[in-house]
Symmetry: C2
Subunit: 373 residues, 2 copies
């Protein structure tokens, strides 16, 4: 099989004159080195975590198309925050899957020829991508590139929540935006591993969805009695750790308030400084970009902070990473099955109308890029 001389790939650039510019460029086909493989990318999800590099701090409400490129103005504050990437054409798309169509001369690389593999390494919104063998996850026989497209970000993030829980001495978890692909994986993992989980969603149909896959505690934050329900669930599970995908607003603070309310149910525990056991909320996403508001009515033993998969994995070490990746490969079409509502081409991914749809980040909507379309 002969390969084309060039391939198409998407890049995102912050220009000197205050524009975000996302466009398709043509590049010469690379030749894999000894320990590398060349993947023909056939499926790459658009995750919320991809939006940062794609759109940065630009004003996407004013995005439009210019000669096929997507352009959006960047307010002065956004320019200050993105000074570090000025003029750099950044590749986009954290993860994806496809077929190995060329391989370096090492045995490890050669053994992957023709195999369907997943990879996380950035720049996956592209027709072809060279990746070191070490970063590749071979997909089990019978599974497709679409099955394997989301093998890293969501599965590993979901697996690392209970890992974090155990490492930091907690015994149960609260999760927000829990009806997401990631949230459904977490329900299955916690059920299999016996970890009590409190799921927070925003709609009744999401409550039904999570209950249908085995969730025990599902709470609708739109309910009038959301906080009392949350206190009950936190009290029943003993959760003192939460992972929040929304980031902004009062949700993280409300969860801490509920944890403190649950702790206060233990008789004789009152102290002006609140309960002694540390209560932690990690913000791992920013679906709500508004500021985080902390009311602080939960004593002194609490923390709120950012949580990022690569930072956690770097601390957890290679052995943990290998164990978790093997579990993903083994349970790819069960625990870690992803569903996509739209499949789009590289050109579609630049279309302002389509961008507006996937940039809305609605729970239940998930876009897959197929660079071969």
């Amino acid at each position: 099989m002969s390969l084309p001389k060039t391939y198409k790939t998407l890049i995102s650039t912050v220009t000197e004159d205050g524009q975000l510019r996302m466009e398709m460029v043509e590049k010469p086909m690379p030749v894999p080195k000894s320990d590398q493989v060349l993947i023909r990318v056939e499926a790459a999800p658009i995750n919320p975590s991809d939006h940062g590099v794609m759109f940065g701090y630009s004003d996407m409400s004013k995005a439009s198309n210019e000669d096929g490129a997507l352009v959006a103005p960047i307010p002065p504050m956004g320019m200050r925050m993105m000074k570090g990437r000025l003029g750099q054409a950044l590749p986009i798309g954290n993860e994806g899957a496809g077929t190995v169509v060329a391989a370096g001369d090492s045995d490890a690389a050669q053994s992957l020829m023709g195999r369907t593999v997943a990879a996380m390494g950035g720049g996956m919104y592209t027709q072809y991508r060279v990746v070191p063998v070490m970063q590749v996850l071979p997909i089990n026989e019978g599974n497709t590139a679409r099955d394997g497209a989301s093998s890293f970000v969501n599965p590993l993030t979901a697996l690392c929540f209970p890992e974090t829980m155990r490492n930091e001495g907690h015994t149960a978890i609260v999760h927000t935006a829990a009806a997401s692909n990631l949230g459904q994986m977490l329900v299955k993992i916690c059920k299999a591993d016996g970890v009590p989980l409190v799921n927070i969603v925003r709609k009744d149909e999401q409550v039904a969805l999570l209950k249908s896959i085995g969730a025990t505690h599902v709470i609708n934050s739109s309910d009038d009695d959301f906080i009392p329900q949350l206190i009950d669930a936190v009290h029943e599970t003993g959760a003192t750790l939460a992972f929040d995908a929304t980031g902004g607003g009062r949700l993280a603070s409300d969860i801490l308030t509920a944890m403190e309310g649950a702790a206060a149910r233990t008789p004789g525990a009152y102290s002006i400084y609140g309960s002694i056991h540390h209560k932690q909320v990690y913000l791992y996403g920013s679906l709500d970009p508004s500021p985080t508001m902390l009311t602080r009515g939960y004593g002194m033993a609490w923390g709120v902070g950012g949580w990022l998969l690569p930072n956690f994995l770097a601390k957890a070490g290679m052995e943990t990473a290998i164990r978790l990746r093997q579990r993903v490969a083994n349970e790819l079409t069960t625990t870690f099955a992803s569903t996509y509502t739209d499949e789009i081409s590289l050109a579609d991914a630049l279309n302002a109308d389509i961008v507006a749809r996937y940039n809305a980040k609605k729970t239940g909507e998930k876009f897959l890029v197929n660079p071969q379309l």
Copy 2:
């Protein structure tokens, strides 16, 4: 010397009908057990950390006197938060100093007879107090009860900031409300121990005060170019840890923004997820009771949380506590000298007009209760 049969002491109660009630009561003189001493309390500071037990979540703007007691209404939300202390007469005043006027029959207790000692154990706004020998810090000869009144809360808190810094892998500190008694102690400790310190104050005269005692970096948050100044100082010191006494508003967030801005000055460090080194702000006070606002423009490697001296000391262990207390005793009138602007009686501490003055928690104003007045 014969002791009176009774003594006067202050208590604070949340009543069933929604009132905060702080009052003076008379109690029978206690007799110390074998390993206890009876202290005639002569000096006890009013620290911001005392206000929690004293006033709770009452509406102090509506405080008034009734038959010598201080009363203030409590809004419904405050009542919910203080459910755990309903009807309990809580003793007030975390720390203080005085003379040992009776002692149990153990050698340790007997050796303290007649000595001036400091103690932290709550209930120090009182004429007499029985305390276990283990909780007592004997004041060096020549130092008075007034010298030793603030031997615990501020000195140990200030000493534990660099301890926290070392334990958590940071190398410099940012401190807010830095012109306080505690802040001045921290300036001296950091200077002696070679710890780079960035002091944030709100007035020019506070800048001058801290520079006069040897502070290198002092920044006025009222300056128009506060943030650029802060970025410079954080960059020069390499501070990735802050202790914030204000708690509310945007200050904690601004400090994280400055830390991220300083990190971004290192060439080639740009990542959409921000700098990798963990940036931490601990809120150890609540001078500003409004919600904490986090803008989150500082990547993912950050944390904000409560910090409480007893929780830290419990984790740090006995050896550390003894080492730090010895340093306080040795440097009581130098590093740990406190200054008081007002000395008041127990009755004064209940006077609504005087309460309004010390409840304002103005930096530079510090009240001392002398229960023998």
